[in-house]
């Protein structure tokens, strides 16, 4: 059983990293194989799926799907561009902040898919290359996403597994993000300010845009804003209310469906079931190696390496996660690390700092390379389809520097606050 579980796990992860077969197909096939080969009973496999994570993802996807039909996101982005008076460098910084805030509340990929089209239109009006702005947005979406429980899939996984609340994330991670954002914005400003030049006549184009006309449906907008507010308040209070995050998200989703009387079929078709099944498969794959004791062995190995020292283990967690996540998808990585952190906790270590180190490492690591996070790849794909080029090298040039700087800031933060 032991070697079967490891073989299936390694084969699946290799296939996911190689990207030759779709990651969801791999996760599903690997998970089913574990059951067929008798490593897990079907019941064990199903109970390994963390339905809190699944419910939270589905709930938020439904809320975003309905809200994105209102034109709210375009409105805010164009507003920001006008506030910047059409000045390209300012637009880049403002849109980056908008992206960071959105991605703290939405999934990063969704944020990029909403902000990229507006960015192309703004760049067309100013006759500038949108790529510097797009890269800045991608980087800030990865950073902003790490500030909250719902902003990034690794955080959702960690929050659910560790029983950490929305408030816990806000109190522990938002402070360091507030330090990282301006530093990174300054780096982006230094790198791109010379490339972003336009004429005064073209700036007028931006000022002429009738921003109110981006709102497609005022009634729907009001309802969406109401539900967004209810959901965010729900998240802030879910610890005190003893409600799981998935309950809050699904409550918001159901409420929005009820008050807007939207036909569920169209909306439910828009839910990314491929992502949902991917998560379900991963949970089962990890449960397989957990059951046969691989993670216990790994945990013992880590403890021997760091001699059980709390600072050494935490720093290893932070930098290990950062480096891994800049080359492989951080979702399978974090899914595997979670039971490992539980094991380390069983051996007497304080898990709190380890959770924050894992979250910060996985989220910041995503900026290291173009393949480090799904938002990066989605952004590059959108740029290519719009007739621009965002190459691995181009992203790496600034992304890697940003990653190192944000990791260093995180190191100091964790050191001072927890160790």
């Amino acid at each position: 059983m032991f070697s079967v579980a490891i073989a299936v796990f390694i084969a699946s992860y290799t296939a996911i990293v190689s990207e030759r077969i779709h990651r969801t197909t791999v996760a599903l096939a690997g998970a089913v194989l574990l059951v067929v080969l008798g490593v897990l009973h079907q019941e064990e496999a199903f109970s390994a799926i963390d339905f809190n994570t699944i419910g939270l993802l589905i709930g938020m996807m439904i809320i975003v799907l309905i809200t994105s039909k209102t034109g709210l996101f375009q409105y805010v982005a164009i507003r920001a561009a006008k506030l910047a008076k059409g000045e390209p460098v300012r637009i880049m910084l403002y849109l980056a902040v908008v992206t960071a805030v959105f991605s703290a509340l939405l999934d990063n990929v969704t944020t990029i898919m909403l902000i990229a089209p507006v960015t192309f239109v703004i760049a067309d009006n100013l006759k500038i290359n949108p790529i510097p702005i797009l890269i800045t947005e991608i980087i800030l979406s990865n950073i902003g996403g790490s500030a909250t429980l719902i902003g990034d899939p690794p955080n959702i996984l960690i929050g659910s597994a560790a029983g950490l609340s929305f408030m816990d994330f806000l109190v522990n991670l938002a402070p360091v993000i507030v330090i990282i954002v301006p530093v990174v914005l300054y780096i982006m400003y230094r790198v791109y300010r010379k490339q972003l030049k336009t004429t005064d006549e073209l700036k007028v184009n931006i000022m002429k845009i009738d921003v109110a006309s981006t709102i497609k449906d005022v009634k729907l907008l009001k309802k969406s804003l109401f539900v967004l507010a209810v959901t965010i308040i729900g998240f802030l209070l879910h610890g005190a209310l003893h409600l799981e995050p998935a309950t809050i998200a699904l409550f918001g989703a159901a409420l929005l469906l009820v008050i807007t009387d939207t036909h569920p079929e169209e909306i439910l078709r828009g839910v990314e079931w491929t992502t949902i099944i991917f998560f379900a498969g991963l949970f089962i794959l990890v449960a397989g190696i957990e059951k046969v004791g691989v993670l216990e062995m790994l945990s013992d190995w880590v403890l021997r390496l760091t001699e059980g020292s709390m600072p050494a283990t935490t720093m290893a967690m932070l930098w290990g996660s950062g480096i891994f996540s800049s080359f492989i998808d951080n979702i399978p990585f974090v899914a595997t690390m979670i039971p490992l952190v539980h094991e380390l906790g069983n051996s007497g270590l304080d898990t709190q700092p380890l959770w924050w180190a894992l979250a910060l490492g996985a989220d910041m690591g995503g900026n290291g390379t173009l393949i480090g996070a799904s938002a990066n790849l989605v952004g590059a794909g959108l740029a290519e389809k719009a007739g621009y080029k965002l190459s691995f090298k181009q992203f790496f040039g600034v992304g890697f520097a940003v990653m190192i700087v944000s990791m260093l800031i995180s190191t100091v933060y964790i050191w001072l606050r927890y160790l």
């Binding site: 375009q74 898919m113 990229a116 239109v121 067309d124 006309s213 959108l382 719009a386 007739g387």
Partner: protein, 129 residues
């Protein structure tokens, strides 16, 4: 298309076998950038020269990028008319290719052909003007 005053073409491979169709709708669809397809409301904020830019960018696209693949949607000369009509209505193609036994392109059934056949049955003559 403009010089032949037609709105559609049938694409064939080197053996004269039909592989796709292309019409004015495909050309327009290929020209409009995908981010505007994703968010059509934004198109009204684009400056005038974006049309020119999009058109010149789409010049790099080949016919096979823009055409709609047939996936075996063809009729033979002795197939019933209703088959051509069904295929034309199911696939939104302007023309349904007519092929020989060996699969080579022999002709086509256009929407107009189908319309005329319908009119003929209903005894509607086309010289009303």
């Amino acid at each position: 298309m403009v010089s032949k005053k037609t709105n559609g073409l049938i694409v064939v491979d080197e053996n004269n076998r039909p592989v796709g169709t292309i019409d004015s709708f495909n050309l327009i669809k290929a020209m409009v950038p995908s981010y505007l397809h994703a968010d059509p409301g934004l198109a009204k904020f684009e400056p005038e020269d974006v049309f020119y830019k999009a058109v010149s960018q789409s010049l790099n696209k080949t016919v096979s990028d823009m055409m709609e693949e047939l996936h075996g949607v063809v009729v033979h000369e002795d197939d019933p008319m209703i088959m051509a009509a069904t295929l034309a209505s199911k696939h939104n193609f302007r023309y349904v290719p007519v092929v020989s036994e060996s699969g080579e392109l022999e002709g086509l059934v256009s929407r107009t052909d189908i319309k005329r056949a319908m009119a003929e049955l209903l005894n509607i003559s086309d010289n009303v003007k």
